[in-house]
């Protein structure tokens, strides 16, 4: 067989794979360098950039804002997606396919166009530059990501369980909260964590919506890169990487990562 060829292919592919985290690793290494940049041979290590970030209220504020917005978005969008997907799943309306297409449609909008569209509508209601405006925009952007895992989980529930419960006299409320909710928990946890991390790290749409009163961490990072390329950025960036890594590991522990590469069962 072509053993050497396969080995070569694997080595090449592995090199490409480790190209993906390369910029993150470089940032991480820079954040611990006392000099503030990477050099040969590596210089002294220090936490001074982290200390600097921790004493700057701009970073603390935007970090807490991002965490808060992401948490509210995750819970809200997951609740909305569960309620909607559950109703669709049980009622099976004839327009289900069309409805799901509309649910997924924000995915087919280039972010710059989505940003302008959301500015238009939030300006109309006076929510531009407010945290609530950002939450609403993030709910719109993350609904497709929350909808799909929940729908997939609902479709996996054995219909006989619901039938049995119904025969034994369980009402709709009991079926929804006592059976569907716990049995679809893998989808719900995936939706929660996935929408949390998308909201926490979103920048392209959000930068249209922030204002003097409120800004998120990624938008603050963007603004800071333009005005001042201080190594404190490396420390802040490493913090966002840590949050993202934490959420991915949590998802891996709780549910597994198969969802991301699973094909639509429908």
């Amino acid at each position: 067989m072509n053993a050497p060829l396969i080995k070569l292919g694997r080595a090449g592919s592995l090199a490409l794979l480790f190209f993906l985290p390369a910029p993150i690793v470089v940032i991480g290494a820079t954040s611990f360098a006392a000099a503030g940049y990477l050099r040969f041979p590596p210089g002294e290590l220090s936490l001074r950039w982290y200390a600097e970030a921790a004493t700057d209220p701009r970073w603390i504020d935007s970090f807490l804002t991002s965490l808060g917005i992401a948490a509210i978005v995750a819970v809200t969008v997951t609740a909305i997606a569960f309620a909607g997907a559950y109703a669709c799943h049980r009622l099976r309306p004839r327009w289900l396919a069309t409805f799901e297409l509309i649910v997924m449609s924000p995915l087919f909008f280039p972010h710059a166009a989505l940003g302008v569209a959301l500015v238009n509508v939030l300006a109309l209601s006076g929510h531009l530059g407010t945290a609530s405006g950002i939450v609403v925009a993030h709910v719109v952007c993350t609904l497709p990501f929350a909808w799909r895992p929940i729908m997939v989980a609902l479709q996996r529930i054995d219909s006989e369980i619901v039938e049995a419960a119904s025969l034994l006299g369980a009402d709709e409320r009991r079926i929804a909260l006592g059976i569907a909710l716990p049995l679809a928990r893998s989808g719900i946890v995936t939706a929660l964590l996935f929408s949390f991390i998308i909201s926490f790290d979103e920048v392209t749409v959000t930068m249209f919506l922030t204002g003097p009163q409120v800004t998120t961490l990624p938008v603050q990072i963007y603004a800071f890169i333009q005005e001042n390329a201080s190594p404190v950025l490396a420390a802040i960036s490493t913090v966002t990487v840590a949050v993202t890594l934490l959420v991915v590991m949590l998802l891996e522990r709780l549910i597994g990562l198969e969802f991301f590469v699973a094909h639509d069962p429908a």
Binding site: I27, G115, I225
Partner: protein
Amino acid sequence: MRGATATPRGLGWLLLPAVLVLALFLGAVALLFLHAFWTKDGFSLAYFKQILDRADYHEVFLRTVSIAAIVSLTSALLAYPIAWLLWRLPKWRNLLLVVVLVPWLVSLVVRTYGWLVILGPKGFLNEALRWAGVIQSPLPLIFNDLGVVIGLTHVLMPFSVIATLSVLLQIDNRLEEASESLGAGALETWRRVVLPLSLPGVFTGISITFLTSMGAIVTPILLGGIRQKMAGTQIYQEVVYNFNMSKASAWALCLLILSGLGLVLLRTVEAALVPKADK
């Protein structure tokens, strides 16, 4: 849960929140049209005319489409071997998937900043090359189209990996075994069995990465510099610095139309390349 009870009643209101969110989205899209065609002086095609008339704007759209095309194809090409590797190493798949997913989910502003640190004039790469004596003066790796292409390709590659891998995982192992037992080598099996079956995933990846590059703002601004405008950066500038929502909306509509045309073209190519599924 199909056919569990006769017809569950009173569940319709559960759809209400989702319908409201979608109504907001559709309302936002409707406003996009309204703003694009209604300026201060009433109905007007002024901004569309401006886009059609100004050569510098043609250049911006041309750059946007070319960069999006190059980036989505490069990203598909580079992502394919990674997806293949993850497919081939089921034992390691979960761990390697973390290596793909974390860079995908980390904020793109952070990943772009990483490329600034690596490719900048005093960046990691230039310093390393100078230290090794390969170059005397730093290579111009960013603040040009090359920087934007490198940055965007890297930002979008994880998605291409995921799209391709999800299709590879569906391939029936027996097809490969059959091909090899009929005497085809590994390379031939890949070319004649695996590749055609994985193309739909590759095309999904190309479509989404094309769309994302079309609407990119952060990476083009940070790695391309002020002069190398793309449609997204122009739109952002109109909204945030010029407060010209009509112009921004007109640009956004043109961007949508071009993206839609791109997707239609991709669909046509896919239909011609991919053998009809006989499921």
